[in-house]
Amino acid sequence: MENYVSMDLLRNPFYILNATQQDSRQRIIELAEKQSLLSDVDKCMAARAELAMPRKRVSAEVAWLPGVNPKRVYDILLLLESSVGNCLASDNTTSTAPVDSLTEVLVRVPYAKKSTIADEVLETLKFSKGDFTVVSEFLGIRKLTPIARANLIAARMLRLPDYRPDVVTDWILAIVQTFENINPSEVQAILNVEREASGFPAITELSDITSEIQNCRRYYQQVIKFALDNIHSAKARAKVVMTVVESATDSDTNRWPILVEDSVGAYGDSAAAFLEIEEKNIEALDKKIRIAADEETSDPIFHSIVDELLQTIEDWYVMVQPIQLSKNRQGLRHNASHDAADRVRLLAIYLFNEYDELDLSQEILNMLKDVFAGIPAIAERITADLEALNRIAEQREQQIF
């Protein structure tokens, strides 16, 4: 769990010290000393070290809420803290958020009501900018910068009250699109305005910002994996990822937003164990069919095992499709697909060579052709096999007539 949330807003050094982007170095040291007497000393000292050094500070700044008025930052964090889904409640329980209207509202209302308000406001984050009115009204924030919005979405995705597939799909799409809008130069300009107020030297190298944005990207990928892992059905997870791929990519240009690629990568890790089981099933059924053929098992039983294999491959394909698509688009080899295709292709050839099961071999190869249509290297070989079998079938027909 810790790995997922290392860049979470509620673990950010600013949050740990109750500091704002505009606090001076001296103020940060004072805050750290005070906080370290009341909460985890190591965390406070590490947060101080990070915020007090101009170069190291960039990572905390980019992972925070750039461009948001410091007075409003803690309103937003209060929403996160108050969320129903906040199973990741920070161990820094001494929040001293500035008191204003929202804080008072949330502090006064009963817990259940408070959670509902928080969830309602946060829910609007996943919609496009135009539907941002609820947050605007509540927080007095007219606009969130894309980087702040992405960080907030990520924090929210770690605390969803409900990880239904459709909900997770919407959130993944929201973070994918928001990330596409992050502009490093804009982030640099915003941070430098904040640095002027705090007295820290300006960030002069744009590469410092771009590299931190890439770190955020890796964090978002972990967040996406966290959300996917919370969907209990493996098939539903695959469907979510396929929907994301189909909705966020441009089929004409074959252009994938980078976080879509990352989402599939995250899914691949999350599905690895399941896919391995399915691949072992395919292996076992392959052996079973060969033994059944060798032992001349009765037709109905034999065919039922073959049907089971075909069904298993189709189920496996549903799961593996997003990974296949992504690998193919990147020009990378998907070893599991090659292994599975080779195994079943050789089975079809075996059944034909040894037992003259022409129809069955054709049926298996046709199914494989559909499943591996997206992988030209495999599809080419299966097509060649099918052509050979079709030629034999034609020759036989000609001999009959």
Binding site: E2, Q26, A52, T94, Q214, Q330, G331
Partner: protein, 848 residues
């Protein structure tokens, strides 16, 4: 602790200092010759009597084979120190132990014999784990009890801050005999934080001496005497160069105080004739201008290193208060002036002695840290108290301030109407009765140096005493913030199954020590009980120069698991790690096996680093030279390229049979330095993109020009897609570009490998390689023999003569292909078996 001792265990000189916590004073203990520093030299005389320090140092030019010097450079390398004249072999640790014992001998008996001593020994910032372990071992051999290590720059800063009252940012320029350390430190109210470390491993006074000998002394000798060309290696004249180096160093030191000096040695000091029988002497005038020109390039390198270190912090020279000078060569004023003016930062003019600052700082450090035995006792008391209480009084327990803070922490619901009171037991100060609430902070006065004791009492609503705690706050002279780690420690993991190994950092450079934590990774493959497989946790270190090496290995083996159990793929593996203040690493793994939590902590730590053979150093140098040429294709105006070229010359010009291991080690370090410079150039964002783009264009161009015609349609599509992915990786500045590039090159190779002509050419190339480069040279020669016979086969002869259709399969080529593949698979580790065994161990741990 009653006694705090700091030891600067230097490469050329060492020093010892004590710190008095009550008076806040340091004292450097002098050698019998009344010098503050003692040369780190050991000499065995004709009667095999052991002499240490100045006497030993003076004996070096005349009896080099009876003396041990510069052994610190070999700490942790396993390299023996041979004293052939007295037929003795010592380890570098034994030598260091002798120096430590000698230094301890300078202390008064009451300190020396006290059981209550905390000793801090300094180590260079660039010391890796193996070298640190070796230093601790030397301390143990010397019989020193409680020992902590501290980086030399940190000690230097503390010494400076002790006398310097101004808050601000400081650049510490520590130029020793062999190394430059740059440290950026910040002081706020006598609290010292180290912001960044940097430096150059091979740059110091010895390099200046060498430059003088090569450019002034040697030419003068050849002008005035008849001497052989191979002066350095000629056994008859080796002693002459050693004496000349010694005299040069003496003259150079004199130059710190005067505008000119002379390198002098009389005939009766040298006692040697030239080839004509003339008596050799030295009388060479040395002027500052000449010397300044000679060392200008080196000094510029140090200025560049200082700028680079400062840039790590994000501060500019305008933000820096002054440069603090440490180390012998900084005595030379023209050097200080140049560094100062080039950096645009004024030099320190306080009275910190560059020769003893490190030892003094080490003793201050000893007085300002919590020693493990104190810590253990206090932690236990804290735990007992906290377990019993819901009210905890927390304080900043070590501070240089005149005041400190005590905070009230209430676990759970605060009791109603409770009061508390804090009384100073030393001065009778009283906070009065205060309402007990969580987060209440009381400021207390610290009236004396050392321990100040307070009593905190809690009363209920009716005034009954509920709880009473004693709080000790130590007022120290200077308080080091926690110490930043000089090395990154990482666990090697896979980003995804089938992906390339990457590093998950546990401690990164400049993380504050001590640091502990945990991280959860996952099993990348199934581990079944009884199987011969293992889950491999490889710990690696990365230094400030970007060099990586192995630190240790923890394995969970199939045989470790209870019968019938397994660790399935994706199982969470919780890793606990700690890097102590002195830089030691502890690592363990916790995993749920069939409902039982098992802990594995049997880490194998490498005790000795790997010292390569001269031939390997040369090969590495040549490889770096190729990289320099590659980078030069598109970057030609970067001065670092010239620096790297100069450094790598040390290894490319090395004799493959060089017997002097110091030279081999130096050349190896020079390779690391050059490698670091190239990495810097490559990592420069603009350059990185340019270099990557050029590499990609080359791979794609090669495919288009030579491979596409042989590729299948699916291979063409896949290559084009991968090239696009690699392009995107460049655009996004992703770390996976190198993987994609390797894959693209691999695809090119895969297609070529199918071509018969390629296999034949590949064999021809391999057959001409030197068999000694292969670990199993017999096997290599056997395979070359088989291949040579196959080359005579008619099918291959037809191909070579261009008389065979490419589409007709040749069995002889297939066999030759097998031979080439086997040659490729013979390892070429060059003896680094231990570490290579770790490298060949599969990484099968997935990132969390």
């Amino acid at each position: 602790m009653e006694n705090y001792i700091g030891i600067d265990l230097g490469t050329t000189n060492s020093a010892i200092c004590t710190y008095d916590k009550e008076t806040l004073q340091t004292r450097v203990w002098k050698s019998p010759e009344q010098n503050d520093v003692t040369p780190s030299a050991i000499y065995f005389d004709r009667n095999e009597r052991q002499l240490i320090g100045q006497t030993a140092y003076n004996a070096v030019p005349r009896s080099p084979d009876s003396c041990a010097t510069l052994f610190k450079r070999f700490m942790g390398t396993g390299m023996p120190i041979e004293l052939s004249a007295v037929n003795r072999t010592l380890t570098p640790e034994e030598c260091s132990a002798e120096i430590l014992k000698t230094l301890f001998g300078y202390l008064p008996e009451e300190i020396r014999n006290s059981p209550d001593i905390g000793t801090v020994i300094t180590v260079p910032a660039a010391f890796d784990q193996m070298k640190k372990n070796a230093t601790l071992k030397a301390a143990e051999m010397a019989g020193i009890g409680s020992v902590e290590l501290v980086q030399e720059p940190i000690a230097a800063v503390l010494s400076f801050m002790k006398t310097h009252q101004t808050d601000g940012i400081f650049l510490i320029y520590d130029l020793g005999g062999g190394t430059l350390d740059i440290t950026i430190a910040e002081s706020i109210r006598k609290r010292v934080d180290l912001l960044a470390n940097g430096g150059i491993e091979l740059c110091g006074g010895r390099d200046f001496d060498r430059a003088l000998v090569d450019n002034l002394v040697r030419p003068w000798l050849y002008d005035n005497f008849d001497l052989p060309d191979d002066l350095a290696n000629n056994p008859q004249f080796k002693k002459l160069l050693r004496l000349a180096t010694w005299a040069t160093e003496r003259a150079k030191i004199e130059l710190s105080a005067k505008n000119e000096s002379a390198i002098n040695l009389y005939e009766d000091e040298i006692r040697m004739n030239d080839l004509n029988g003339d008596e050799i002497y030295l009388d060479i005038p040395l002027q500052r201008d000449f010397y300044n020109d000679l060392i200008a390039d080196r000094v510029n390198e140090t200025i560049h290193a200082a700028r680079e270190t400062l840039s790590k912090t994000g501060y500019t020279p305008n933000d820096v208060e002054c440069v603090v000078w440490v180390g012998g060569p900084t005595h030379y004023k023209p050097l200080r002036d140049k560094v100062s003016s080039e950096l645009g930062i004024q030099g320190d003019i306080s009275d910190v002695d560059p020769m003893t600052a490190v030892a003094e700082g080490a003793s201050i450090f000893a007085g300002s840290i919590r020693w493990e035995d104190e810590q253990g006792q206090e932690d236990q008391e804290d735990q007992e108290r906290q377990a019993a209480d819901i009210i905890i009084f927390n304080a900043i327990d070590r501070t240089p301030d005149d005041t400190s803070k005590i905070a009230v922490r209430v676990e759970g619901q605060p009791p109603v109407d409770y009061k508390f009171q804090i009384v100073g037991l030393d001065d009778g100060s009283d906070s009065g009765s205060l309402t007990l609430t969580h987060g209440e902070v009381v400021t207390v006065n610290l009236t004396k140096p050392g321990n100040n004791t307070f009593k905190a009492s809690v009363y209920d609503a009716t005034g009954n005493l509920i709880q009473e705690d004693e709080i000790v706050i130590t007022k120290v002279d200077v308080s080091p913030g926690r110490v930043p780690s000089e090395l990154s420690i990482a666990l090697e993991v896979l980003g995804r199954i089938g992906g390339e190994p990457e590093l998950e950092y546990l401690v990164t450079e400049s993380d504050l020590l001590p640091k502990n934590g945990d991280t959860t990774v996952r099993a990348g493959e199934l581990l079944e009980a009884g199987s011969g497989n293992s889950l491999n946790f490889k710990l690696r270190q990365k230094d400030a120069m970007g060099n990586q090496s192995d630190v240790g290995l923890l394995q969970i083996e199939g045989t470790d698991l209870p019968e019938g159990s397994s660790i399935p793929i994706n199982t969470d593996l919780k890793c606990f790690y700690e890097k102590t203040l002195g830089g030691n690493i502890k690592f363990s793994v916790e995993v749920d096996v069939a409902g039982t939590v098992m802990v594995f902590d049997d880490v194998y730590y490498f005790e000795e680093g790997f010292t390569p053979a001269a031939s390997q150093v040369i090969e590495k140098g040549l490889h770096i030279q190729k990289r320099i040429e590659h980078i030069e294709e598109f970057i030609d105006d970067d001065p670092r390229l010239e620096q790297a070229r100069r450094k790598v010359e040390l290894s490319t010009m090395l004799d493959p049979d060089e017997p002097d291991m110091e030279k081999v080690l130096e050349a190896n370090q020079a390779n690391s330095e050059a490698d670091r410079l190239l990495k810097q150039i490559e990592e420069d964002p603009g350059n990185r993109r340019q270099i990557r783009q050029s590499d990609l264009n080359k791979a794609v161009g090669f495919f288009d020009n030579y491979i596409r015609q042989h590729a299948r349609p699916a291979e063409e599509t896949a290559f084009d897609n991968l090239a696009e992915t690699a392009q995107r990786s460049i655009d996004n500045n992703d770390n996976d570009f190198a993987d994609h590039l390797d894959e693209l090159r691999g695809r090119n190779f895969e297609i070529l490998w199918r071509q018969d002509w390629f296999v034949i050419e590949e064999f021809k190339y391999m057959a001409n390689l030197d068999a000694e480069r292969f670990d199993d040279s017999d096997r290599f020669e056997e395979l070359v023999h088989i291949g040579t016979q196959l080359m005579e086969h008619p099918e291959i002869q037809e191909i070579l003569a261009g008389r065979r259709e490419a589409t007709i399969r040749s069995e002889a080529v297939d066999q030759l292909r097998g031979v080439v593949a086997q040659i490729m698979s013979i390892p070429r580790t060059g003896g680094a078996a231990d570490h290579d065994a770790m490298q060949s161990m599969i990484t099968n741990i997935l990132a969390g």
